[in-house]
């Protein structure tokens, strides 16, 4: 009888202990890569994670801008049950850090040598209080100008190297009955064009002072007025139906020759390649007139979670994300370039290689700048205040001097 009882106790104890055995790294990841190429890219990461012994729990929340995902994240964090990692970028990382909910990745970063592998400005975005808390996935370039090669050849034009050249090219195209600039009238698209114009007209230092440091003298300066003047000129180069148009419909206008140029980030390249066009032959890509490079870096921020397997999952995820194979596969599918310096680019197309080369040059001479329109330079409230002024000016007949005054007032008022 005693032996039977001892036997039962021993068996039960073994089962209880077996339940708490370390199950392997696991990660619950919140993201909004739910469409086409993005979903394929996310699947590549899942495959690699699981090939390394991890368990991936997917938490996709659809909605291209990430609004719904951020809502879900807020709810999870408020209830004390944060996911292991979430797709957060730019100053939002530091904003979440100030709420005290992010984890420390410095051990992985030191082991993998991230300080040497990432450009300095990008590495700084990934740090919270000097220690790494997020892993960068890719680098999107925002200040691209795309053109229909055929239309340009017929008009006898080259890719413009200055805004004055762009203006005269646009006037030639207007004379030929072609829409010079394909544009979608949504606030973020207006902001995208605005920041490329600001970079081109004012230069990298002006851009940094105005949109990263929020220096009031720069924001209220004559250079800023000149930027708004150029925006007013650009307004006459878009077709009357541009309001509310989606960005990919504007790209379609360039693809089928209705319009000549589009100013949009490198995700537009995906539209061209999906339509079977090849870079250099059917469509041309160049940096918008002016020096500098505006980047938009997607990243995974790691949250402070409990449990050995979750923490191991975070470290494995961070290591894989900056690893060479993931950086290559993901970025090939998404149309961006690797954040990791030195990734071999032989499989990438001509525009991507150009982008990577420009990024290295810009990083070297200090003109590698975060995009304000895509949430890299400023917090949401401040970026939104600037965008309100920009989109109001573009869609009305506001004078440039009034726009500058409104800009200064809006930035002062945003917390």
């Amino acid at each position: 009888m005693r032996q039977i009882i001892l036997g039962i106790v021993a068996a039960v104890t073994t089962f209880i202990n077996a339940g708490t055995v370390f199950a392997g790294p696991e990660a619950e990841v919140l993201h909004w890569w739910t469409s086409g190429g993005e979903a394929r890219s996310a699947a590549a990461l899942v495959a690699e994670f699981e090939a390394n012994g991890g368990t991936w729990q997917d938490m996709p929340v659809a909605g291209g801008g990430g609004d719904a995902a951020m809502q879900a994240l807020r709810a999870r964090v408020l209830s004390g049950n944060a996911p292991t990692a979430a797709q957060i970028k730019g100053p939002s990382i530091q904003e979440w850090y100030s709420q005290g909910v992010l984890a420390d990745l410095d051990d992985v970063a030191k082991a993998e040598g991230w300080d040497a592998l990432l450009p300095e400005s990008i590495a700084n975005h990934m740090k919270c209080g000097g220690k790494y808390c997020a892993a960068p996935v890719n680098v999107h370039r925002v200040d691209w100008i795309w053109a229909n090669a055929d239309v340009l050849a017929r008009a006898g034009l080259d890719m413009p190297t200055s805004w004055a050249e762009f203006n005269s090219a646009a006037k030639t195209l207007l004379g030929m009955g072609i829409i010079p600039l394909a544009h979608g009238g949504q606030a973020w698209q207006d902001a995208t064009v605005f920041e490329t114009v600001a970079l081109g007209v004012g230069g990298p230092e002006f851009f940094h002072k105005a949109f990263v440091e929020l220096d009031m003298t720069a924001l209220g300066s004559d250079t800023m007025e000149a930027v708004f003047d150029q925006m007013r000129i650009m307004r006459s180069f878009v077709d009357p139906n541009f309001s509310g148009r989606d960005w990919n419909l504007a790209t379609a206008m360039v693809i089928n020759g209705e319009a000549a140029f589009q100013i949009m980030g490198d995700w537009a390249k995906g539209e061209f390649t999906a339509a079977g066009k090849s870079p250099g032959k059917d469509f041309l890509c160049a940096s918008t007139p002016g020096a500098g490079y505006l980047y938009n870096v997607d990243s995974f921020a790691m949250f402070a979670v409990k449990g050995a397997d979750k923490i191991a999952g975070q470290k494995l995820l961070a290591k894989l994300v900056v690893g060479e194979s993931f950086q290559t596969v993901f970025n090939l599918n998404k149309g961006s370039i690797p954040a990791r310096i030195g990734t071999p680019l032989d499989k990438f197309d001509y525009c991507a290689r150009q982008s990577a080369y420009d990024m290295e040059v810009a990083s070297g001479n200090g003109s590698l700048l975060p995009s304000y329109a895509h949430g890299m330079a400023l917090r949401g409230a401040q970026a939104g205040a600037i965008t309100d002024v920009v989109t109001n000016h573009f869609n009305s007949d506001m004078k440039s001097s009034d726009a500058v005054k409104a800009l200064v007032a809006a930035v002062k008022d945003s917390l």
């Binding site: 609004d67 807020r74 509310g244």
Partner: protein, 290 residues
């Protein structure tokens, strides 16, 4: 003892819903008003900071546009829907043949969601693919109807889509009201030789005052709630010219992580609604007790 318990049954049955409403509506309203006095950004902060959010709100040009739009849209939407609904109801009341079918046709738009209405009207009003292109294809090459993309007129397109959706519902309300007027008074008036127009304006319409009240209340709640219609039709309009307080609040809270500002705008919206409803409730309760 049992009958005393029986008397309490209605209260017991209602208690769960009542407490749910008390918590999930009123307690959270109070929470929002509290947040409006803080400096919350992406997550709520609970340290009170005075009225700085309301100051920021009053200086925001976008909020000014939103409030202006609320008044333009609200007044036009309620007035035109009421007039159109009344007209349709009077016309349908003339004992015509296919009244049932016509009533269903007019009432049908109410069954659609505002998103469907907004998207359909966006295509209809788009200058390149809608009415303007259509009329131009008939040969009127200088016809212009580009309100949708015009910053000054875009708000009126929202009025058009909203009226199309709700006029049928108002018509149904008024039709019921017209049918409930006492026929003997009408016959007496006709015997006295009063013209039909005066019968309507002096007898029938005044007796339908409660129906007018219901129609205005329903329409004003639809107007204040108007969010999905704006998002589908203009996405906030050229720039932010068709922004309404509801879309402003959504943008501040969820797209921008500016919870304090969103809560302040929600509080202002609440005050607007309270300013309309409280006098009405007061007059209703007074007339019951008086």
């Amino acid at each position: 003892m049992f009958t005393r318990f029986e008397k309490q049954i209605p209260k017991i049955v209602l208690a769960p819903s009542f407490s749910a409403v008390l918590i999930f509506v009123y307690a959270f309203m109070a929470w929002t008003v509290y947040i409006a006095f803080t400096k919350s950004t992406i997550m709520p902060m609970y340290k009170l900071n005075g009225v700085l959010q309301f100051g920021r709100l009053s200086r925001s040009p976008r909020w000014e546009t939103a409030i202006e739009n609320l008044f333009i849209f609200g007044i036009l939407f309620i007035a035109i829907s009421t007039v159109l609904g009344l007209l349709l109801a009077i016309l349908l009341d003339q004992r015509i043949r296919s009244e049932g079918a016509l009533r269903s046709i007019f009432l049908y738009p109410m069954a659609l969601s505002f998103i469907v209405t907004g998207t359909a009207w966006k295509w209809i009003l788009n200058p390149g693919t809608g009415i303007e292109a259509f009329v131009r294809s008939w040969g009127f090459s200088s016809f212009k109807f580009d309100w949708l993309v015009n910053p000054d007129f875009a708000i009126y397109t929202i009025v058009i889509a909203g009226v199309w959706q709700s006029a049928g519902f108002v018509m149904a309300l008024f039709l019921a009201g017209l049918r409930s007027v006492n026929q003997e008074i009408i016959y007496a008036a006709m015997v006295d030789g009063i013209s039909t127009r005066r019968i309507y304006t002096k007898i029938i319409l005044p007796s339908m005052a409660p129906v007018f009240m219901s129609a205005v209340i329903v329409l004003s709640h639809l107007a204040i709630k108007s969010f999905d219609l704006v998002v589908a039709l203009t996405g906030g309009g050229p720039g932010y010219q068709t922004d309404l307080p509801a879309t402003f609040m959504y943008a501040m809270a969820f797209s921008r992580g500016d919870l304090g500002q969103a809560a302040a705008s929600a509080t202002v919206m609440l005050m607007t609604v309270v300013a309309i409803i409280v006098p009405y409730l007061y007059s209703e309760l007074r007339s019951k007790n008086g």
